[in-house]
Symmetry: D2
Subunit: 338 residues, 4 copies
């Protein structure tokens, strides 16, 4: 860690700060410069977090040298983490395709969708029971009834399931009904919920927050792993920018960036990222080419009557064609569908 002092900082301040660093068990360094005094601290910088050196009135800025996350870092574990999803695996080199409706509406709707996913050769079934909605007047999901439908259809059709959990109080019931727990973008920094799924013993799909830096996504994953759950899959789903043509801005460079720094698998959600169904196909292909471990896509038997996010949902035929057309591309990348 590098600590830059303000111009004119006195000797006793330098001594005080070096003492505080040394007391934490790190080695302090003193670098007198031409216009600024710079201090260094050698050792595990995480020990310094509580010192809050940037609070000191004589400190101009603090520049960490090491990344603030550890358990999710490639420096700690160089090989890829593989996360089991039922009998499938995410992160083992194949390309996972999770698909399903934004919101579970009925047994009939989910059943038709799940059969289409299985038919197309998809990897898993997604479906939302608890829905976070911007407006209190919008459809809020089918809740526990939706969970029961998901669980039943998942078993009947033979596809593992993923669904979102919004509230720490619901973690147990979601664990009872689904194979993987999703943390949505709005909850990426709901730390109580992260701790709760960290103790749940079920794989977690962690979506990037709308305004989260990649370092913050990795720190959110660190919360889950530190709570005892190593089975975390990261998901890039678009960030909020000034661009209004698409719902969010899909940050595909995040895929290789995350995979170079972390051993966790990385999925891409092109549906929420773009908000426009005609961009989903190209972005699925781009995600594969960027090195993602898979995608999670919204599909619906009749998007024009979907109760949520129909604008970005593919119908079942378009989805089947998308998967079919993806196979030669995956082959050229040395991959296949998981």
């Amino acid at each position: 860690m590098i600590i830059v002092l303000k111009p004119g900082s006195k000797e006793d301040v330098v001594r005080e700060l070096c003492d505080r660093i040394a007391k934490r068990g790190l080695e302090p360094l003193h670098l007198p410069g031409s216009e600024r005094v710079v201090l260094g601290a050698i050792g595990d910088e995480r020990l310094l977090a509580d010192l809050q050196l940037e609070s000191h009135p004589d400190v101009e800025s603090v520049k960490p040298i090491l990344s603030p996350y550890k358990l999710v870092s490639r420096e700690l574990q160089s090989h890829d983490t593989v996360v089991r999803l039922g009998e499938r695996a995410i992160g083992a080199g194949a390309f996972a395709i999770l698909a399903g409706p934004c919101a579970i509406e009925s047994h009939e709707q989910l059943d038709a969708t799940a059969r289409a996913v299985r038919e197309a050769g998809g990897t898993g079934l997604r479906g939302g029971a608890f829905k976070p909605r911007t407006s209190p007047y919008a459809f809020q999901g089918t809740g526990r009834e939706g969970l029961s439908i998901l669980s039943r259809v998942s078993k009947e059709v033979g596809l593992p399931s993923v669904t979102e959990v919004l509230d720490p109080r619901d973690v147990d019931v979601v664990v009872d009904h689904a194979d993987m727990l999703q943390i949505g973008a709005r909850n990426m920094q709901n730390f109580e919920l992260l701790r709760a799924v960290g103790r749940a013993g079920r794989p977690v799909l962690l979506k990037r927050g709308m305004s989260a830096r990649l370092e913050e996504l990795l720190l959110a994953a660190e919360y889950i792993v530190a709570a005892g759950n190593p089975n975390v899959v990261l998901c890039e789903r678009g960030i909020r920018t000034f661009e209004t043509a698409t719902r969010n801005t899909l940050d595909l460079a995040a895929v290789p960036y995350l995979k170079q720094r972390s051993h966790l698998p990385v999925l891409v959600d092109p549906s929420h990222a773009t908000g426009l169904r005609e961009l989903v196909g190209p972005m699925v292909r781009a995600a594969a080419a960027a090195g993602a471990d898979g995608v999670i896509v919204e599909i619906h038997p009749d998007p024009s009557r979907a109760l949520s996010d129909g604008r970005q949902s593919l119908d079942l035929q378009t989805f089947a064609r998308l998967v079919r057309d993806l196979r030669p591309l995956l082959a050229a990348l040395g991959k296949e569908v998981a």
Copy 2:
């Protein structure tokens, strides 16, 4: 609501959509244009939310005419809402000054701070017991012990208190210890938490999310009011932008924008918005001049040793001077400290 169809949309699609609008009890309008067919729907647009017309494959875009929030809107209630905070009031024309440490560390620390707030003539005492922290390795707050300290100091010193609640399961215990519940920026769209504080019968300070549009902030407030709690105070605390000189970008135009559209009081948090203590004073003054109903400011007896956010905390002397210098400005605006 205006519905723009894609070029070449057929007559039967137009008929189908007009039927769906009419079935909801609104009056459909058909506007044949030179290059596009445009439909209108006259009446309460909130009824259309569930129709999800933008999902229809022949719909190019949907443009709402009315604002999506209602209970918090000035169109419903033209007079200002006044929110009681202990024996003080926010929104009644005076300027509220809530101050205190980012994190409650000890009785001694909070007591010294609270006495300084009272001495300076401040309105209320803020202090965090449950702390949402980006890294699992950072100080996570003193939790229930902190709440007890807050409650005790608040009574001893005679200042009403505000503290953050992070988890729906903690709402009851926080209600037992504090006069006002704060929803932090990271939880602005934690809808389960919004519903829980909506049922809590205690005033709520709702902070704008880091990437929340003002319309979304008003919809989050609508969740709380719709759950039965009309005592909501909005708080602008900076949004995340590309600028890195400050921690966030304080959006002061949000103050008159919100007050023109909503009857709820609006506070400003210059500490989190800027992250730099030397910008707090100017931004408190600017908030007052922009028409805010008050500010919430981080102060600490010894910022250089604060366990959280010391970089943006004022020491107690600087705070006293800030309030003193603010008084003539408030007088020129026809206001005084609440």
Copy 3:
């Protein structure tokens, strides 16, 4: 165009606005609503731009129905524009690879680079002579000398060349030395420069501004085409967001979005978008899979000693490997290198 009036707007205002619309030759429409009066204007909305209806104190908002660009739109020309670059073509279905150094430093440097591009089978040679640099203390380019080197190497090696023009006064000299003129991100809305290259009779590579919406990029292209030059190639090069892990955020969804709305070819610049050489390869592949017509990549014989942007430059061997590995992917997409 839809014009929403403020609540309580009077009859005579409605009449006045309808008159102004009719005087422009469009058909006005009057839609009395339950809470707002809404007006429509049927016809070519571009005629209304000068009316500035949004300035009227009784107008709440104006919502255009049609896109504001025309010449670059697919609605005007449904087939793809093909732009000639020397003896090659961009937009004809093949994948163009333009490569070269950020800044031309010497004949030796550019010659080595150009031979590597030709060897790898690349399409064209890029190289900056006039360099826009954030700091006046940074290397500012080799200017006219650089142009001469570019022109000479381009001929010797047999590759068409692309270089940036910064100043309308330099358009003629750049036309004398290069096959394609580049408008950089910082100049996307330098309208005098757009007009100047619009009259220059040379293909133009138009980069998206760092904070430009896609609609604004298309309007900038419209300036060039309207000035008489139909040979415009669009280039997505990353936008400025809150993310600091990468230099910019590459918006790959822009590729299919632009190609669906415009007939102009679209390239991607993964070097400036990410600023990190280890992300360039994955983003080139992702650009191809997203449907881009090619890429423009920074390469250098010795990136560790480059005078500009070395951090994002590939060395010549890495570039050769990148192109080699790209070929099977292009084949799977039914394409080849242009």
Copy 4:
């Protein structure tokens, strides 16, 4: 400057980099850490810009210690720069009010406006002759004819004038007609234009680019001062963010931030920042309270018929009232209108 090497960097790389630093006349420092080798360079870091150390394959990151600007910095000149505008001054402690139409339309329009500015006690007259417009179909300004009107009205009414210059070729003619040259947001990084106005011997109003960091604004100012013109006034005019309620997001914390780091005066443009006339008054007051040296405001005799940006223009009566109401606020701040 701090140079962090990648894990596992060899001794000879360390030696090579230290040599390159020393050759530039700076003192290299070698700080062996527990997980990373860190190098330091003591001295004027601007000398290192050309070394491009971040390009080196063994360098993980480079962290400058000193600010990259110098001439505009308070560290070089601690007292405030005062910029003369005709017989008035900006930056001498008083509050400048520059007002006028977005676009000069006619002598009649500008004359009426200028008389209103003088009547209200304003400081200077703004008016656009060359207009940068996003669409080629929008009104493009009255050009040289507008300049003549500006020059004539300015003399007749006795107010100094400010107008934008877009093209280096127009600098001379604008110098002939106006007292202050404005560089618009879209041209903040048009470096040829910055150099041209740096040689023009006329005060310059430099607007912050829509996506410019404050450091980049200061570097743009450094271009002008380095070219020989010390009379630069900075202007915050809103940045582009995800928020769509206002045209841009006014970053008022930029005012004290800039004034603490630079000796140049700082104005605020609330009209372009918000795009909504009903927010202009509150933001003028907030700018004053934040410590700005003045504002530049759009006004028009009949905003509902303005040819450009009428939505954000005040009518002349509203402007007069705004200035009148501002006076007691300025008095409380110990200021008056310049």
